[in-house]
Structures are given as C-alpha cells and as structure tokens.
C-alpha cells in the first residue's frame, strides 16, 4: 500500500474524534496538550476545565490510583512520574468519572515523541468486562461453596449415622442385658427410664443426620429420599405431601439429584412456612430429556415483587442452585390461589 499521509491523518483524526476510547496527550511536564471527546465526556466538569487550562497534574484530580502487584488502588510509583514508562503499556486504573463514580479502566501510557516528551494516555472502560468476570467468579465460587457444604454435610451425617448412633444402640442393647443380672425392681425401672432417654437421643441423632443429608439420596436416589423426607414432614408438621413420580427409581447425576432434593426441600418448606396449607403436591417426571419437578400448594400465595415475608434468600438460592446444573426455576403465585414451583434441568 502506498503511503498516503493525507488519508492516514484523516483516519487518525476520525479515530481521535469518534473512538470510544478516551485519549489524552500530555507534554513532558504533565500539562494536557489535547484530549478527545470521549475523554471530555467522562471527566467531571471542574477537572475538565483544569485539564483544558493545562494545569499541572490535573489528571490526578480524577485519578484514584492504579492497580499494582500489591495494591488494588495505589499512587505509589505513579505511572505519570515513573522513570520507566515501558512498564505502563497496559495497566488498570481507577478514575472518578462524571455521573458514574469511580470506574476501573484499562490504560496505556507511553511516549510517542521522545524529543518533545509527548506522551499519550488511552483509557478503555472495563466495567462491563469486570461485571462479567465478577459474575463468572461468583458462579464458580457458589458452585464450590455448595459442593463443599454438601460434602461436609455428607461426612458429618455419615459419621453421626454410622458411628455415634451405632455406639448408642450398643448401649441400649447392653442396658437390656441388665434384667438378666438383677431382680431388683428399682434398678430395672431406672434402667428402663434410661433406655427410654437413650432411645429418644438415638432418634434425635438419626433426625439430625437425616436433616444434614439423607443417606437414602446417595444410596437409593430421589424417590426414596423424597418419600422419607415427606414422611418426616408429615410426622413433625402434620402436613401431608402427595408425591407422584414417574422416574421409576432411575438414578441421575449426583449433582442433579442434590439440586432436586434441595430445591424441593426449600419449596416444600416455603409452603409449610407461609402458605398455611394442609396438603402439598409434588410431581417428579422426565420429559424431552429434561427432568422436571413441580410442587403445588393451594395456600395463601404471594404477589411477585412484594417484600418477602422471610429473608427472600430462599427463592434466590433456588435459582442459584438450578443455574449450577443449567436448569431453571419458574415460580408462579397468586394471592389466595396458591403457589407453584417448577424446576426443570436438562439431562
């Protein structure tokens, strides 16, 4: 391509005027020589005036520090006064901008005319990229937290069930042997009382273990886990739950089973807590290579967007858990009619 300086400078001017990147030119002493419209747009008015007036280090008014290896926002070893400008070909900086507060930018700062000491400073807004990254990070963290929580629950639950409860059972059996060793009725009555206490304690421990994570979920799958969970709810809260399942004891990925169990647990507990119903229906089925769970109550219901009666974290948590396995939760509710929660996860 033949050199065409006119054309090139026209392109450069267009880029300077229309680029979404903010471009500043500074002289050797840090006075502003020029800045493009994108740069003028992000600066607060008083800072902009100073920049245009060419005041010393006017950019410092807006600068909130750059990110170094040791700190998120620092002025130590400032790029503006650095003796090694080569280090600042790409770095992150925080600027106080017009209307948006302190925003992270990716910046380059280098000399384009070493004779006259003219340096160019270019900024690209990082907000969107940062949000994407943050979201990604959050999702990964959430996945790890949930996984760690489930694993730890599984461990404690097994420990309680296999070790603590077993030893306690041995103690109960040993107490039973007492009646062959003495005829003293007082001793036997006391032993009977102790046996009752231990048996209830054993029950408490089994309940604890179940609440943490039911062994049946890992050993026998969703249906078995749901059945024993619903039975316990009926026993402790007097609310009956009708389970209709057509998955025929099929087993799924452990992560998916956990998501289904926890979301169903949350949805049912919500119905118990807020809907004041006597009956809840739960429907579990596979269709179009998706696994579905629907819980229905005909209770008080709520209006979407109304301030939640609880923490409001329950529904959020359900969605978060579903997202982990690429599933989605749809919640529909009508005042006085009841609430339906529909979870579907691709298999």
């Amino acid at each position: 391509m033949p050199p065409n300086t006119d054309f090139q400078s026209e392109l450069m001017m267009k880029m300077y005027a229309n680029s979404s990147e903010a471009i500043f030119f500074f002289d050797r002493d840090g006075k502003t020589l020029s800045l493009n419209p994108a740069a003028a747009n992000i600066m607060e008015n008083d800072v902009l005036e100073q920049l245009i007036a060419g005041a010393d280090s006017a950019i410092c008014e807006a600068c909130r520090g750059f990110t170094s290896e040791s700190e998120n926002q620092t002025c130590k070893n400032c790029f503006f006064e650095s003796v090694e400008p080569a280090n600042f070909t790409s770095f992150q900086i925080h600027l106080k901008t017009k209307g948006k507060g302190v925003v992270p930018y990716t910046a380059t700062f280098h000399t384009i005319d070493s004779e006259r000491g003219i340096r160019v400073f270019m900024l690209r807004d990082l907000t969107t990229q940062f949000e994407t990254q943050k979201k990604l990070h959050q999702n990964t963290m959430m996945r790890h937290v949930i996984e760690a929580q489930e694993n730890e629950r599984k461990r404690i639950s097994r420990e309680l069930h296999d070790s603590v409860a077993q030893e306690l059972l041995s103690a109960v059996v040993e107490l039973r042997a007492l009646k062959y060793m003495t005829g003293d009725q007082k001793v036997l009555d006391k032993a009977e009382d102790t046996k009752a206490t231990l048996t209830r304690l054993l029950d408490d421990i089994r309940n604890l273990s179940l609440e943490l994570r039911p062994a049946s979920l890992d050993d026998f799958g969703l249906e078995a886990a749901f059945r024993s969970h619903f039975k316990r709810i009926e026993e402790s809260y007097g609310i009956s739950i009708e389970l209709v399942s057509s998955i025929n004891k099929k087993r799924f990925d452990s992560e998916i089973e956990t998501v289904f169990y926890r979301i169903c647990q949350e949805a049912v507990l919500n119905s118990i807590k807020y809907a004041f119903v006597e009956e809840i229906k739960v429907h579990l089925y596979e269709e179009d290579s998706h696994l579905h769970l629907i819980t229905v109550d005909e209770g008080l219901g709520f209006k979407e967007g109304q301030s939640p009666k609880g923490t409001g974290l329950g529904l959020f948590g359900m969605r978060e858990r579903a997202e982990l396995v690429n599933g989605k939760v749809e919640i529909s509710s009508e005042l006085g009619k009841g609430t339906t929660v529909h979870l579907s996860v691709p298999l």
Partner: protein
C-alpha cells in the same frame, strides 16, 4: 394407681373448672413406639391433627418443656413466634392458640409429659392460670405421681 383412661375425664373436668379453651397432655409413647412424645389427650380441640404429630425432643412447645423441665408461659403468641416461625409450633396453628401456658408433668423424679392450657385469644393467659396448671400437674394426672423429687 389411677386408671390410664382417667386422663381424658380429668382434663375435660379441669378445662371446665379453669375455663381454658384447650387443655392437652403430651406423653411418652411406650417402648414399642420408640418412646416418642405425642399429644395424647386433648380437651376443647378443634381437630385431631395435633394428636398425629411426633414431637421432637427440644423442639416445639412440648419438646421445649419436656427437655428443660421448666414451665413456659406465653401471653401473646406474636411475642413468641413470628409468622414464618409458626410452623415449628403446629399446635398453635392447628388449634389457633393465641396465649398459653405449659408445665412439665413429673413422674418418679423425671419429666414424663407436658400439660398445656391455652386460649384462642391474646392476653387471657395469666400468672394465676399458670398456678392452676402447676397445681394440677403436681397433684398427679392419670398414673403420674407429679413428684419432681424422690426421697428415699
């Protein structure tokens, strides 16, 4: 020893004397039922739903009184449990109790059950009513001797 069937007659009578809306007794089930705690007798109840519930030690009203052996008085349900916490106390929901008292039933130096007296209106439960409950509990109901201390 008094007859076990006596329980129902005794609490029916007690309810008439004391003017409670509901009087209920929670007792330990025998060994073949794993010694679970249940509301076995009720007088003035709306439904029989509460009798079906397995009470867990340390949870719910009966569970709390049973485990601690201490009486419990609630003059206004709102101070005791918020709406989203109410499901932990099914007897309050099913029987719509607004104020109540509950005392341990002693037998042989151990807590053997719980006696509850309640109202479907706030503020009706008073210290005087609590005294009536405590007296009733210590006088022995059914085959319970009501003694919290055994002197040999």
């Amino acid at each position: 020893m008094k007859n076990i069937a006596d329980h129902q007659t005794q609490i029916d009578q007690f309810r008439v004397e004391t003017d409670f809306d509901l009087v209920a007794i929670a007792l330990i089930e025998p060994a073949e039922n794993q010694y679970v705690l249940k509301w076995k007798y009720a007088s003035g109840n709306i439904s029989t739903r509460i009798k079906k519930i397995l009470l867990q030690s340390g949870k719910g009203i009966a569970g709390m009184v049973f485990k601690t052996g201490k009486p419990l008085i609630v003059k206004d349900r709102g101070d005791f449990a918020q709406n989203d916490d109410l499901f932990n106390f099914p007897i309050l929901v099913f029987e719509n109790l607004r104020s109540f008292g509950a005392v341990p039933l002693w037998h042989n130096g151990r807590v053997a059950g719980v006696l509850l007296g309640g109202y479907r209106e706030e503020g009706l439960m008073t210290e005087e009513k609590m005294v009536l409950l405590t007296q009733k509990a210590s006088s022995g109901i059914g085959n319970l001797d009501g003694k919290d201390l055994i002197l040999h």
